[in-house]
């Protein structure tokens, strides 16, 4: 803990890096209350390590969410040939389900 962090740790509502980390998912997912968001923002102002970590963490979550189709994309090519459907059904008949 650097001197500035120590000074801020005396303020009411201050959270530690550990507490910041515990609340990070709720923060990134927009599930924190206003007060909770303010506390996180205050911590980011005084802790460059947590600020950098949170930025990279949020970006990671965004990249992961965008990387795989949810299965509900109306523009996706959803064509499946009849022979593929039949192959799947034939494999089930050959004992694939039991």
């Amino acid at each position: 803990m650097n001197p500035l962090q120590w000074l801020f740790s005396l303020l009411p509502g201050h959270i530690s890096c550990d507490e910041f980390d515990e609340r990070l998912d709720a923060y990134v997912d927009g599930e924190l209350s206003f007060t909770g968001r303010v506390r996180m923002a205050m911590h980011r102002l005084i802790c460059t390590a947590c600020a950098a970590y949170a930025a990279a963490y949020a970006k990671t979550v965004g990249l992961v969410k965008a990387s795989i189709e949810s299965g509900n994309d109306p523009t996706a090519d959803e064509s499946v040939s009849e022979d593929l459907v039949q192959d799947i059904l034939n494999k089930r008949m050959q004992g694939g389900n039991r």
Partner: protein, 198 residues
Amino acid sequence: MDAYRQDDETELLAALKANEARAYEFMVREYSGRLLAVIRGILRNEEDARECLQEAFLQAFRAIERFEGRAKLSSWLHRIAVNAALMRLRSRKRKAEASIDDLLPQFDGNEGRIDPAWQPPREEAPPLEAQDRKEIIHEAIAQLPENYRNVILLRDIQELSTDETAAALDLTPGAVKVRLHRARAALRVLLKSRLEDL
């Protein structure tokens, strides 16, 4: 073939568990297009994607008796298909599932974040194409142990709530939160070493 209701899967699920051929055909015809599109997005190889779709359905056929209907059938199939695609991707790259303990954040005795002072130097590399970035992200997700990967798939890909994810995986909401946090933290480290802008 429009024999089963989409809004109420009870009848379809009962028919599947009763091993009715008509129900299996309905399920394959109804969901294979969407699932193949998702798998194609991960594997980017048509032949691989077709084989993977077959594997995914075979896994689903074998597991249908244990499916309790806590999640929607489409969500359950989507997770099986994505998992199958990621596992195929991992075997292509021959990367083993790794423990994520070394990838989690560290704190000192005063609950302060320990910021690693030394970072390995990055080599200059040309900017990555969007598809290459996606492939790197898929490989990183594939490296996660299955119990973490499943939570990422349900919470961040299918965007289920914590409670819905907990019900689908038979976990407590608290356990889902812990796994999600650990999985995201591990992914950040895995991606940081490969993506310039992270």
